[in-house]
Amino acid sequence: MAIKSKKPLYKVSSQLEKGFQGHITYTTILPDDLSRLKVTFSFDKLHAEQDIEELQAGCREALMKNLEEETELLECMASAVYHLPKSEINVSLFLNDVCVGSAHRNQLTKEIWISEEESSLGFNNCRPAGVFSIVLHVLNILNDDTACILTVEGVERVCL
């Protein structure tokens, strides 16, 4: 009879500063006895909490790039886009250098399951074994001290 137990494999916490953009990669070797893998990534402060006026000025500037020079950009029009900027971090997973998928969603917490039988939306079914890389695609950080937490847990098959 087989039962399953969960074991933590990896946990990392970090803080990102406003304006950072880049890819952050974490790589580890997975144990051979896993049947499923769970990756949880979360960050906070989705919307701007600082330098609001500067951000809105940036929005107006971006809009003006797509408008005729002489256009008067009315505040009531521009304000329709002020809610659109957001902090954005997406997650791609690689097993043995092969991309198995990406979580590209507007979510503060992304929970991803990988297994041969069933994986989360955005990910191919595959056996979680070998060299495992997690790539955080940090598109935008709107606030200083944006906290990020990444955890990796394996579900181990145990035979009794």
Binding site: A62, N90, C99, G101, S102, L121, G122, N124, H137, L139
Partner: protein, 327 residues
């Protein structure tokens, strides 16, 4: 024949709200001829989409793809069935990465919404890479209709957010500069689109196909046999020193086959040596333009009433002269 191709769509495998099945059903109900699934940075929906399309027996062909979503712009890779890393992409010299996409199986590589409003409103959406060699780009999404078909569609800034007019102008400059690049539209579906009077893509393929419809659509993109339209269809051919435009008003897209009769339109030819020739047409008879022997390429547009972007109805396949012939 002409086939409607919707080449930029998302599902719940990335940030879309429609499942793969819902997207396919929507495409079939709305008479798409070909549907590409281009989720952000993932191919995980492909096998299910292919399976469902076959199972349901819709008159719809499925085309796998990916929207490679980088910090510096979004690249559509049609035919790509294995996502590749993109962390090494250099936006100042992106050709190597675009070539990698081709090598990894992408059969047509295009730029999505190049002039969409950018930072800080939408990070990465505006194309910010510097292309030195346009031969690595097979097509440009000159009209992205996602905003027009959303709740923002009637907002006075809707067009400015899309940047479609600038995208079309970029494509025209490139074509008239001799670059072989197809023009397409993108619904960029993330949720069920609202009804709106928007451009779509039709591709020209053979009546009897020796390959699958999806393959033929790729072939049409690679040979620039695509047109963007709000209903009217036309094809161009060279007859000696004349460029002949033949119309096809059979499309029921936006009810065109019932709307076109008894109206007058303006056809405009712009060639690579700067000639701009216009004529009125009722779209019943073919139109013949003189075509300069010096011209190497040309673009044909169809307008209603007035020659401006607001009145644009269709842009035909670009025309290139090769060894004395146009194709």
């Amino acid at each position: 024949m002409f086939v409607r191709a919707e080449l930029h769509n998302h599902s719940t495998h990335s940030d879309g709200t429609m499942t793969v099945e819902e997207l396919i059903d929507f495409a079939a109900q709305n008479k798409f001829g070909t549907l590409a699934l281009t989720d952000h940075n993932t191919v995980s929906g492909h096998s299910l989409a292919s399976e469902i399309t076959q199972q349901k027996g819709h008159e719809l062909s499925f085309l796998p793809g990916v929207e490679v979503t980088t910090f510096f712009g979004h690249i559509l890779a049609l035919g790509l069935t294995q996502m590749i890393p993109f962390t090494h992409l250099n936006p100042k010299h992106p050709e190597a990465f675009l070539a990698e996409l081709h090598a990894a199986g992408a059969r047509a590589v295009g730029i999505a919404h190049p002039y969409c409003v950018g930072e800080p409103i939408m990070i990465g959406c505006r194309f910010g890479m510097t292309i030195h060699d346009w031969s690595v780009v097979d097509y440009i999404e000159v009209v992205n209709t996602s905003i027009a078909e959303s709740e923002m569609g009637n907002h006075p800034l809707a067009e400015a957010l899309s940047g479609n007019e600038q995208a079309l102008a970029l494509w025209e400059i490139l074509v008239l500069g001799g670059h072989r690049i197809a023009a397409v539209t993108g619904k960029d579906i993330h949720k069920p689109p609202l009804e709106a009077n928007v451009f779509t893509t039709f591709v020209q393929i053979e009546d009897k196909l020796a390959v699958s419809r999806a393959d033929a659509v790729i072939g049409a993109i690679l040979s620039q046999k695509t047109m963007i339209t709000k209903g009217p269809l036309f094809e161009t051919s060279l007859q000696e020193d004349k460029l002949v435009v033949k119309f096809d008003n059979s499309s029921d897209y936006l009810n065109w086959n019932n709307l076109y009769a008894d109206r007058t339109f303006i056809l405009e030819l712009t060639d690579s040596v700067g000639n701009v020739i216009c004529c009125d047409t009722d779209m019943a008879e073919a139109v013949s333009f003189p075509f300069s022997l010096e011209a190497q390429s040309a673009v044909v547009k169809l307008y209603e009433d007035k020659r401006d972007y607001e009145h644009l109805l269709a842009v035909g396949s670009p025309i290139y002269r090769t060894g004395g012939n146009l194709h």
